[in-house]
Structures are given as structure tokens and as C-alpha cells.
Symmetry: C2
Subunit: 72 residues, 2 copies
Amino acid sequence: MNDVQLFIRIGDNIRTIREGKGLSQQDVAAMCNFEKSNMSRIEAGRTNITVKNAYKISVALGVKLYEIFDVE
Amino acid sequence: MNDVQLFIRIGDNIRTIREGKGLSQQDVAAMCNFEKSNMSRIEAGRTNITVKNAYKISVALGVKLYEIFDVE
DNA sequence: TCATTTGTTATCATATATGATAACCTGATT
DNA sequence: AATCAGGTTATCATATATGATAACAAATGA
């Protein structure tokens, strides 16, 4: 799997979990203390996310960190 | 959990898996195309690792990406 | 003793993630 | 039409991850 595919898979995981919880990007961004534009960038797979931000998001979404990284 | 604790947990995961496979930091670093000093930094939890490097390491170790991020 | 392996730390330059802002779009609501 | 919510994209400055190098230490083996 190349980098872009990896980033997109992770972004998709986050989006799926977020939507499953009925939260908006703005909701999650606020809980993470950053702007909604950054959430959009992450979900679109346009960044090589760090574990620090991934963890913040996992806490906001109420899931375990590894759920975000569940890719094949 | 604070950032430092998070980084250390991840570093410990990587180290445990690596040692379980009987590989040196040098072995894994070579498979990832970077230097052993960088592996040491990652395992020591002295960096906020990106998913790109975490994925490279997971491939080198022959485990799923999420295993590296299995933290409480 | 000497060389090798393994791991650690400090330091540096460079690449890039981050956080913020603004502009924009779509769809829904008033 | 006008407003709002939700999401996207581009751009910027700043912080920091990365990759490399070098020096070091401890353990091991020749």
C-alpha cells in the first residue's frame, strides 16, 4: 500500500466512526482544540497524521486508538 | 494519558514486537530505509511518530499497523 | 586486547505536520 | 432571497518529525 492509500484509509476510518456517532467535523475539531478545516484535511487523507493527533481524535470519538489504524 | 506516556507506550510496543521477532534495531531500520538512531528515538518514545513511519515499521516487523497502536 | 554488535544520545538541515484564516460550495431552513 | 450548517480547499507561519552523522557505552567474540 502506498502512502496516499494509507492516509485515505485512515481518513475513511475516522469519518466512518465520526458519522456513526452522529458528530460533525466541527464537533470533533472543537473537542480536539483545532479547526474544522484540519479535520477535513485529515479525513480526506491529505496529511501524514501523527499519533498525537490521532489519539486526540480517538478520545473525541470515544474509541480506542488502534481502531483508527485498522487498515489492511 | 499525556503525550509522553503515549509515545512511550508505542515505542514499547514496537520494541516488544521487534525483540519477539529476534530483530535488531539496525535490521528494522535497514528494512525501513533509515538509520538505527531513528529507531532508537522511536522506541524510546522521543518522537511523535507519523503513520507513514509507523506503517513502514509494521511492514518490517510483519504485523498489522494497528498492533503498534494498541495502547490503553 | 581489539573488533564487532547493539543501542543511545546530541546535533543539524530539511521536509512537512500543524493550527489558523479565509473563501467557497451545497443543501436545508426560514 | 437570505441564513445557516456542514464540508472542502488554498495558503501561510510556525513547530516539529525526519533522516543523517558522529560520538559514545556496554556486551560479546576473536
